[in-house]
């Protein structure tokens, strides 16, 4: 495909990544958050697919398919199951940092991401590498969600957001970390999700709630 179209699609995919990350931060209903996360999985897959089409490498195509299945299919499904069993705690009521403030924080994080990834971009300035800050931003926002949310489930989403970001950065820097690596990453992500899901289930049995602050009680 020709250059301009490639850049257009790439940028669109990156824009979608960014937007979905922001929405995860913005919305309160866990169900919506999970749906947005699924959309982000699609965007990530699209990103990989665009790169694949550029390189004409079947391996990348396979990875794209894998990403699509895992991050837009399996993980959201698991999360939804966890949510369904989570009982009435369906909203991220009062996060540690209120939504308006965390949105402004996200704005700062974006600029930070741009600042730190500037040298990376200048190593080999091209349309692909110039999208690296987006990936870094997604990572930072994911981390922020992980830190400031109370519900175990939304923290899980934050973790997955980080992973999406890392994957995106990986593909953008060296268009294509091999299939094996991606498989490995996906597998341990899956593992982590399952473990955390079990954890949340246990927590709910113990405390009847999935507010992680309750874990403090374990100390004393």
């Amino acid at each position: 495909m020709n250059e301009t179209l490639f850049v257009q699609l790439l940028n669109l995919a990156c824009g979608a990544l960014l937007l979905t990350a922001v929405l995860v931060l913005w919305r309160r209903e866990l169900a919506v958050i999970i749906r947005v996360f699924a959309v982000q999985g699609v965007a990530l897959a699209a990103l990989v697919a665009v790169l694949a089409a550029r390189e004409e490498s079947t391996e990348l195509w396979a990875v794209a398919a894998g990403v699509l299945v895992l991050r837009a299919g399996v993980l959201p499904y698991l999360l939804r199951r966890a949510l369904a069993s989570a009982g009435e705690a369906r909203r991220e009521t009062r996060p540690l940092v209120n939504v308006a403030a965390s949105l402004l924080a996200a704005a700062v994080l974006t600029l930070l991401a741009y600042a730190v990834s500037r040298p990376l971009v200048e190593l080999a300035p091209s349309a692909v590498t110039q999208a690296i800050p987006v990936g870094v931003t997604v990572v930072l926002i994911g981390f922020f969600v992980l830190v400031t949310r109370r519900r175990a489930l939304s923290q899980l989403v934050g973790f997955l957001l980080m992973d999406n970001g890392i994957t995106a950065v990986g593909f953008l820097t060296t268009s294509g970390v091999g299939l094996v690596v991606e498989l490995g990453v996906s597998l341990d992500v899956l593992l982590a999700v399952l473990v955390l899901q079990v954890l949340t289930a246990r927590m709910r049995e113990t405390f009847g709630d999935t507010d992680l602050d309750e874990l403090r009680e374990l100390r004393d």
Partner: protein
């Protein structure tokens, strides 16, 4: 013959003579003499300043006048701009003061004599051409202003505390400036500015940075910039109103002058981080100042806090200019600096107007509390019109005065992005969007603030008896306001008449370059795309207004066209008449904003509900109290003050009052020094 020199000479002479006259003439005449003399001084200053801005600069050296370094004066375009601004403010304030001082019992000899000296000192600071002269004028300005601030301390105790704050902070500021400049002088041939200019070029970055930061601290405290602003919202409200105008519209500018003079002219640009620092301080001050103003319910305090905001905007411009200059973009640097200097001028104009109008309100009602005002429009129409004009100017809406300068500032910031061609690098890429957001938020909050000040203070129904029987001010006060208002209008529709002078002033700082903005009616940016014509905009608005009014007359049918509107009672939902207690007050107006910015301002509110004794379900009265304490003050100043107090207590243990002990201290010190010498030899 040189107009600038003559003007400045006349200004100084008239000022000093006025001061002497104020001492000798009897009380009834005194305020008239002082007012007129001060106005003349200001007028001469304006002439000198304009002459200097149009290229006539002069230099005089009077070695005998002062020990050590002697006095040396140079008035160039940059200094001329500030001299002209100061002079203009002085004219309005002087005329206004004639009846203001008389009616406020401020015609004591001291106060009257010091007032013109204050103006003279402010006129001389931008003309000083050697560190010695500069510091002397600076200190003279500080002392005279201090005396004027505490003028009313007998009548109002809070004035004394404000005076203490001002004294301490302004002198700490002086010390930092002193230290900074002395360090600078130590690396130069002598203390004259040309010598410093020479030295500044080959100063090591470390020393230069030190000099800049230390002097920046002093200058920014004078300009009321965070975090050294604490004195400003105290001193400016408590001073007599015409003095407040001088301080808030003229004196604070000299802090900016110092920064530009030292940073650009003497140190010659310097490193990028200096200007990022200035930019950050400016943005912070702008947002924080206007936020405090939006919460404030004291009319003059609100104006003081808005001064912090405007100086912050100026610093944003200065910082951006420095940023562009260090990254080699002269066009944008010139544009940003022009925006900053233009904002200095327009801020002087509308802040004078606002403070003088606030003074007449104080004069007529005896209160500055917005919650106690209201309904002044029918009682003091001229003052209301003046304040309305000033509020429009301050809220940066077209056809307001500050709109043009903020437009220039935003243009400079927008074109400062790497994407649009400059080489600002990452720093600019981060700084510019944040700066634009800060300026925008400031503009929005300023609108809310001044709608509150004007709408609650002057419109609607009077809230207290004091506002009920307010009356219009005497002619000389109205004349003072009129002059300031005229300046506002002219600057609003034809800012182009001052822009050439502003450009030359900027070229002093940034080195010769072509003017950043051209055009007689339409401002056209040079080097970047952008044009705006305030005059045409105003005309278009007026035309549209006329057309709309005419159209309504035509469209409305006979019944509606009947000229007399039917006077009806306000819609009170059919219940009893609306009383003034049902009106929105300034506090309630700001309440939503306060809740939005809860995390930032952290207001202290307490609500006590008192019930009837029969039943706790029947509410007898609900009392709501709100204070918006200055957070930075609480976090930054109180620890310092506590530490100082602790030292004082420690010191007391040494001072027991026995003379022998004191003599002993001296003896021990001498011996100690001798031993030290013996050892080091």
């Amino acid at each position: 013959m040189n107009l600038a020199a003559v003007g400045l000479g006349v200004a100084v002479a008239v000022g000093v003579l006025t001061a002497l006259a104020a001492v000798v003439v009897p009380a009834p005449m005194r305020s008239t003499v002082t007012g007129a003399g001060t106005a003349l001084t200001g007028a001469a200053g304006v002439v000198a300043g304009i002459a200097a801005m149009t290229g006539e600069s002069f230099t005089v050296a009077l070695p005998a006048l002062l020990p050590l370094s002697g006095v040396s004066m140079t008035l160039d375009a940059l200094g001329g701009l500030f001299v002209a601004v100061t002079g203009g403010v002085a004219v309005a304030a002087g005329i206004y003061g004639i009846s203001y001082t008389r009616s406020h019992g401020l015609d004591a000899r001291l106060v009257q004599a010091v007032f013109p000296l204050f103006v003279v000192a402010m006129l001389l600071v931008p003309a000083a051409a050697s560190v010695g002269t500069f510091l002397v004028c600076w200190e003279l300005m500080a002392l005279t202003s201090l005396l004027l601030v505490v003028a009313e301390h007998r009548r109002r105790p809070e004035v004394a505390s404000a005076g203490r704050w001002y004294a301490v902070m302004t002198h700490l500021g002086f010390v930092t400036v002193l230290v900074g400049l002395l360090v600078f002088v130590a690396h130069a041939a002598d203390d004259s500015f040309p010598a410093l200019r020479e030295a500044g070029r080959q100063l090591s970055p470390g020393v230069a940075g030190l000099v800049f930061v230390v002097t920046l601290a002093g200058f920014s405290s004078k300009a009321g910039i965070l975090p050294l602003h604490a004195w400003l919202p105290r001193a400016h409200p408590e001073a007599p109103s015409h003095v407040s105008a001088l301080m808030s519209a003229a004196m604070v500018n000299l802090g900016v002058y110092g920064m530009v003079r030292v940073g650009f002219d003497l140190l010659g640009g310097g490193a990028r981080w200096w200007w990022l620092l200035v930019l950050a301080l400016g943005a912070l001050s702008a947002v924080y100042g206007i936020l405090q103003a939006a919460m404030s319910t004291d009319l003059k305090r609100l104006l003081g806090q808005s001064t912090t905001e405007n100086m912050g905007l100026v610093l944003v411009g200065v910082g951006a200019a420095g940023l562009f200059a260090t990254s080699g973009d002269r066009v944008l640097a010139g544009l940003a600096l022009a925006a900053a200097l233009l904002h200095v001028i327009v801020h002087a104009a509308f802040k004078t107007l606002l403070f003088l109008a606030a003074g007449s309100v104080l004069h007529a009602t005896g209160t500055r509390d917005l919650d106690a005002l209201g309904g002044l429009r029918p009682r003091m129409p001229v003052t209301t019109a003046a304040f309305g004009l000033g509020a429009l100017a301050a809220s940066a809406l077209p056809p307001g005065t500050a709109f043009v300068s903020e437009w220039l500032l935003l243009q400079a910031l927008i074109h400062g992005l790497p994407a649009s061609g400059t080489t600002g690098g990452t720093a600019a890429a981060i700084a510019m969007p944040v700066a634009v957001a800060a300026v925008a938020l400031t503009a929005g909050l300023a609108v809310a603030t001044f709608v509150k000040a004007f709408g609650v203070g002057f419109l609607a129904k009077p809230r207290t008896a004091a506002a009920e029987n307010a009356y219009e001010s005497p002619p000389s006060m109205l004349a003072g306001m009129g002059l300031a208002g005229l300046a506002c209008v002219v600057l609003a529709v034809l800012p182009t008449i001052v822009l050439p002078g502003v450009a030359t002033a900027g070229s002093v700082a940034l080195g010769a370059g072509e003017s950043a903005v051209t055009g007689a009616v339409t401002l056209r940016l040079v080097g970047v795309v952008g044009s705006l014509s305030p005059l045409v905009l105003t005309l278009a608005l007026v035309a549209a207004l006329v057309v709309a009014a005419g159209a309504v007359r035509v469209v409305a049918t006979r019944r509606a066209r009947r000229v007399a509107r039917r006077v009806v009672r306000l819609w009170d939902c059919g219940a009893g008449p609306l009383s003034a207690r049902m009106e929105y007050t300034a506090t309630s107006f700001a309440e939503p904003l306060q809740r939005v910015f809860d995390n930032v301002v952290q207001p202290e509110t307490d609500v006590d509900v008192s019930h009837h004794e029969e039943s706790r379900y029947l509410v007898q009265a609900v009392e709501y109290r709100r204070r918006v304490p200055d957070r930075i003050e609480r976090r930054l100043y109180q620890p310092v003050l506590a530490a100082v107090a602790a030292w004082g207590r420690a010191g007391r243990r040494l001072a027991t009052g026995s003379v022998h002990r004191y003599l002993g201290y001296g003896f021990y010190t001498v011996c100690g020094l001798l031993i030290l010498l013996a050892v080091t030899r």
